[in-house]
Symmetry: C2
Subunit: 290 residues, 2 copies
């Protein structure tokens, strides 16, 4: 038996996500009957039932859930292959760095300068994405990313630690906590904290789409947030922040797709780690400048 085709995987993912052949077909831009056939053929090929369909409702079997997970990963790998190849071929070598806005730990400028100083270093294109950086690495839209452990999913990625940051609570200046020198997590009880959806779970409460929106919500006193202390440099006037003594520290890491150890990526990672090491040394020497 030869390997599955990506088309089949994409079809299955669509159906598994919609749990509805009609809608899935619509989403795929095709009619429903061929889709039904394709899925059935896939099941025959694997010798496994993937979906239980009672002409009223469609559900995933355990095997179907496995395939959904695996198929997503495989499709990511395929589109990543295409994208990386295109970028490797289309002259103009650029390194795409993905990051969350204002989440560079304050050392991005230094890193970019140091990297640009390297002989033969390509131009670095910085793209900002609030909650997609892992996926961007996996599917080839980005080459390296700044991410925060332990809050993100690093499967398929290689990482190198840059620096450990304590966390601070970001609050409006007139907030009850604003004057305090430090607070603990217990002091935050009762406050609305943002919900970071790990995997598209629709929980209750607001889900900020980007950093600006988050800051806006905080300024409006709708919520407060616990963030790495390097946000201090990026706060708008009416906000301030208070150290949270017992929040687990967050680690800024540089991440890249595991196998693609290109010269440019390796060089960037190395630059970033050395700059971070310097940074740690100097801030330790002159602590708490603010």
């Amino acid at each position: 038996m030869d390997t599955l085709e990506t088309r089949q995987l994409a079809y299955f993912v669509a159906v598994a996500e919609e749990l509805h052949f009609g809608r899935a077909a619509q989403r795929l831009g095709m009619a429903q009957p061929p889709l039904s056939r394709a899925i059935k053929q896939l099941e025959r090929r694997l010798g496994v039932t993937l979906l239980d369909r009672t002409s009223r409702i469609v559900t995933l079997t355990p095997a179907g859930e496995v395939l959904l997970r695996e198929a997503r990963a495989a499709l990511d790998a395929v589109v990543a292959a295409a994208r990386r190849t295109q970028r490797a071929g289309h002259s103009d070598p650029r390194l795409v760095l993905a990051m969350k806005p204002s989440a560079d730990g304050g050392l991005l400028p230094a890193v970019l300068n140091a990297y640009a100083a390297r002989p033969g270093a390509p131009e670095v294109e910085v793209v900002c994405s609030f909650r997609e950086r892992g996926a961007m690495l996996r599917d080839g839209r980005a080459d390296v990313a700044l991410m925060h452990a332990p809050y993100e999913d690093f499967s398929g990625l290689a990482v190198e630690e840059l620096l450990v940051e304590d966390q601070v609570a970001v609050v409006p200046q007139w907030h009850r906590l604003a004057g305090l020198g430090a607070v603990s997590m217990a002091d935050l009880a009762g406050e609305t904290l943002p919900r970071w959806p790990r995997r598209a779970e629709s929980g209750s409460g607001p889900v900020p789409e980007d950093g600006g929106q988050l800051m806006q919500l905080i300024a409006l006193d709708r919520m407060i947030a616990v963030l790495p202390e390097s946000v201090r440099g990026h706060l708008r006037e009416e906000l301030t922040c208070v150290p949270v003594v017992d929040a687990t520290p967050t680690t800024l890491v540089v991440a890249w797709p595991e196998h693609s150890r290109s010269r440019e990526v390796a060089s960037f990672v190395q630059t970033a780690t050395t700059v971070a090491a310097d940074h740690r040394a100097t801030t330790r020497a002159t602590p708490a400048t603010r």
Copy 2:
């Protein structure tokens, strides 16, 4: 533009590996012209030249090298998806453990017993592979593997350390080093050591295909080997071993495919780590039993 098909990737990999359209077509079980067309179509689709062909010799462009790497990974992911799905569906849940023969650090029996004692634990099928365990995890032939850091490629895999082992030199009993209480790497100068081909490099010297063959070669005085000390328990009569004081210690790890965090795998990993911790504790209490 929609995604590449696995067929195209497989075709490209074949050509890129053979660097010869005729042989690649033969290997794929098809005629040469359609293959040429398919590759050309792939290049058009990506907008990138993958191969330089001068009607005499075929070479990979840089972009082609990128695609070769990426395509292999993507194909692995696809076949892994199929295999894991089949295993998830075909009743009879078994956990497949891949290991190198006699490379269990002496704690496999305890791990298997402890795991079997867990309620609802599936049967464990142990498969031995001398130099394919990483690939077996990546393409879904195995669920977990015992591997040795830092000698293997762990990209795409998650690992958990089990135990650190010092290394010993395995030599015939009549060998000049056999009587010594310990040796250093310098003492091994001039000896023939096995070449472990990382990625199908054909270096000089013998390349043992499996452990038995290796031991045979040692017994025939054709070579000696530096291995983790837990091989002591598996040596044939005419061989002995000598600690190598300055060899970098090797770490026995349990590895599994990064995203497939199934209950069974997680449970096995947990069992293995606790058993290993116990093992470390007891061997520290009663050191050097042999």
